[in-house]
Amino acid sequence: MQLSSDQVHWKRTTRLMFLHLFIWLFFGYIVHMFVNSLNQYTVPVLNFPLGFYMAAQGSLIVFVVMLFVFARQQDKIDREHGVAEDD
């Protein structure tokens, strides 16, 4: 069966959602499970223990950046399937 443009649009939207959900899971939780091993390294120049740094700043920076990237990617998908709003 041929998928309609709307169905493909939703499929790609879903895939993008899961991708970002995974990045969120990784930087929100998984990386912090290894805090003790990461703390053995020190961030050069800034002098933070790496595990501490990831929780205090690293993950937050990733979250901010990924939100802007997500907005752009989703908009691209919307445009390619003709469901984006007019500018």
Partner: protein, 661 residues
């Protein structure tokens, strides 16, 4: 919105320019005002007057904005006419989001808990990812005025609407009470007002902003409040960072501060100023929370973010779905500016305390300490440090006390950290006044958003949609304003009684929102097969379980142990129970209901060693499971509902719900 012609695009660009100019002038004026106060301080004007000037100037500005943006249009009252650009909505959301707990409390928690406190920083930022990818933009496309509006359309009418209103009121009311309490606390400390009077003074400020202009007025005021709060938060640590390390970017330099703290911790141990049991190394993880509770807090706060109605409704105000998504990015950016500075704040104050207070002679304590000691917020040698003599006497009373302040001799209330850091570091009073104004802005802006969420749900969902669907515009707005007034007074009256659990309540609000709203919202958007019966059952089960766990562990711990198999929580370091259940259950008051915090079991029992702030961790999965199972057992939703879901998944086109205005 119809297709934009170039004329309306030009109009929008003009609007953006005008906004930029207005808030630019405002920011400049605010900075000028700070300089003016600094000059007045040098001229010898007393601190009390400077404090009043700060508070009244800022409150007056909020009130002027609130009155100037009053409205008689329903769509402006409920969703600010959907004209707020992404960037500015981000700023407004930042102020809406950052409460007294973020501004005043968080750095203090980080000061005390070190690494483990970062759970709150992570939890209160990462949730915006979920808002953007799962919920927010879809609700914007749907075109609701409130979150219960969506539940009603997707899940067959007023019963789902009513449940959603209950969830909304439960989580928002506890939250708003905490904000008004925070307002009272700051006003009473800096202006010397009586606490109860300060609470109602704060209330007037809130009502002036929100009552006449609803969401429209709250939006433009929150932007002004964001500017005040971020300037106030960053100024003291920027000064500290330049003083100590010569670089005015504290977020980059506090790695050095942490290294200094760790070195000082070792020194204190060697000098006998601290013992291995009372010293909690700043960077060591999982000594205040078990890993389960650490990750539980992160998860509950994140998912709670994506479920709290006062946050979701901010994204109803953008001109388009596209801007709603960008706006989430801007929101987190503006929140991030404060949150990634909070650990720096904590590190700098901890270093000051460890270097300048711990190890100094008791007789050489600085006078600023006693102004907080008088209020019972700083204790030296186990007694409130009201003055130097009291502190010296208290330490003398301890057998074998060496006469220098040891770590165990110094106890500071976590709320004091941010408010007192300027004094700890010996900065001029103007900075303290600025910090107080920032704390007020944070508390007021969040209170505005929450009150509006509650009052809108009551006036729009209960009154207009359920009781009187033919009400004319004027009556709808009047009802909305009257309800706002009464909800605000009720919240202030609750806050004036100084309920003991106020900060824990904020955490509960997140868990309740998460258990009640999140499964139904996500399944409603992402799974067409979710049915009315499924959603209703899921909300009741998830929210019910969460509420049960909270209420039992807090207010009926005896019954929890006796009938529901709860056990003591465990100490994260030793793994031993924190209370002796057998002994506590043998006490005469073990089965007492609604016990105070002094009850030996209150907040100390639970299932799976799970802290009750994390009750959403039980409720939310149950909610998803019930929605899934019950939906599959019932008939699929109608064609119309499925079409509705298809419609909200596509940004293009009109909003699904068209309100008459």
């Amino acid at each position: 919105m119809a297709a934009d012609t170039s004329a309306s695009a030009a109009q929008r660009a003009g609007f953006l320019n005008q906004l930029g100019r207005m808030y630019g002038i405002y920011t400049g004026g605010f900075l000028g005002f700070i300089v003016l106060i600094a000059v007045l301080e040098q001229l010898g004007i007393p601190n009390r007057i400077l404090g009043y000037l700060f508070v009244f100037f800022t409150l007056a500005v909020y009130a002027i904005i609130g009155v100037a943006t009053r409205t008689a249009q329903v769509s402006e009252y409920y969703v600010a006419g959907r004209v707020v650009p992404a960037f500015y909505n981000g700023m407004a959301t930042g102020a809406d989001w950052m409460s007294a707990a973020s501004f005043v409390g968080m750095a203090g928690t980080l000061f005390l808990f070190g690494y483990d406190g970062i759970a709150w920083v992570l939890g209160w930022t990462g949730g915006f990812v979920l808002v953007s990818i799962l919920v927010g933009p879809y609700l914007r496309k749907f075109g609701a005025y409130t979150v219960p509006d969506f539940m009603a359309s997707r899940f067959g009418g007023n019963f789902a609407r009513f449940l959603a209103v209950i969830v909304l009121v439960c989580c928002s009311f506890t939250y708003v009470t905490a904000q008004i309490y925070g307002t009272g606390l700051i006003a009473s400390r800096f202006l010397g007002m009586q606490f109860e009077i300060a609470v109602f003074a704060g209330l007037v400020g809130i009502l002036l902003c929100a009552m006449l202009g609803g969401m429209k007025a709250v939006t433009w005021t929150q932007i002004a409040q964001y500017i005040v709060l971020i300037v106030a938060y960053l100024t003291p640590i920027v000064i500290l960072s330049s003083k100590k390390y010569g670089v005015p970017i504290p977020e980059l330099t506090y790695g050095w501060a942490i290294q200094d703290i760790t070195a000082r911790e070792q020194e204190m141990l060697k000098a006998g100023l601290a013992t291995a049991t009372n010293l909690k190394p700043h960077v060591q993880p999982f000594i205040n929370y078990t890993p389960l509770n650490f990750f539980g807090i992160i998860f509950c706060m994140m998912v709670g973010t994506a479920s709290l109605p006062h946050i979701l409704m901010r994204y109803f105000t953008t001109p388009s779905v596209r801007e709603a998504r960008q706006s989430v990015g801007w929101s987190l950016f503006f929140i991030f500016l404060l949150y990634f500075s909070a650990p720096a704040y904590a590190a700098f104050s901890k270093l000051e305390v460890y270097q300048n207070i711990i190890g100094s002679q008791v007789t050489a304590l600085k006078p600023w300490l006693f102004t907080w000691g008088e209020l019972g917020l700083i204790q030296i040698c186990g007694k409130n440090a009201a003055n130097l003599d009291a502190a010296v006497a208290a330490c003398k009373a301890i057998a074998g006390h060496p006469g220098v302040v040891r770590l165990q001799d110094f106890v500071i209330n976590t709320d004091v950290i941010v408010l007192s850091t300027p004094e700890i570091a010996g900065l001029p009073y103007v900075i303290s006044g600025l910090v107080a104004a920032g704390g007020l802005a944070a508390a007021l802006s969040t209170a505005d958003g929450l009150l509006l969420a509650i009052a809108n749900a009551l006036s729009h969902d209960i009154y207009y949609k359920m009781l009187d669907p033919n009400a004319p515009t004027i009556r709808r707005l009047t009802v909305a304003r009257v309800l706002l007034f009464f909800v605000a007074v009720a919240a202030a009256a609750t806050a004036a009684t100084k309920p003991s659990d106020i900060l824990a309540m904020v955490g509960w609000a997140f868990s309740l929102a998460m258990a009640g709203n999140f499964p139904a919202l996500v399944m409603g958007i992402w799974w067409k097969r979710a049915t009315t019966a499924g959603a209703v059952a899921g909300i009741i089960a998830g929210f019910g379980l969460c509420l049960f766990y909270l209420v039992t562990t807090r207010y009926f711990p005896g019954a929890g142990v006796k009938y529901f198999g709860m056990d003591s929580l465990l100490n994260p370091v030793t793994g031993k129970p924190i209370v002796d259940i057998a002994k506590a259950m043998a006490l005469p008051n073990a089965m007492e209901n609604f016990p105070t915090l002094a009850h030996p079991l209150a907040n100390k029992v639970g299932w799976f060693n799970l802290n009750n702030i994390n009750c959403g961790l039980l409720g939310m999965p149950l909610g998803f499971l019930v929605i899934w199972v019950v939906s599959l057992m019932t008939k699929p939703p109608s064609k119309e509902v499925q079409a509705l879901v298809d419609e909200i998944r596509k940004p293009r086109g009109r909003t699904v719900l068209e309100e008459k205005t």
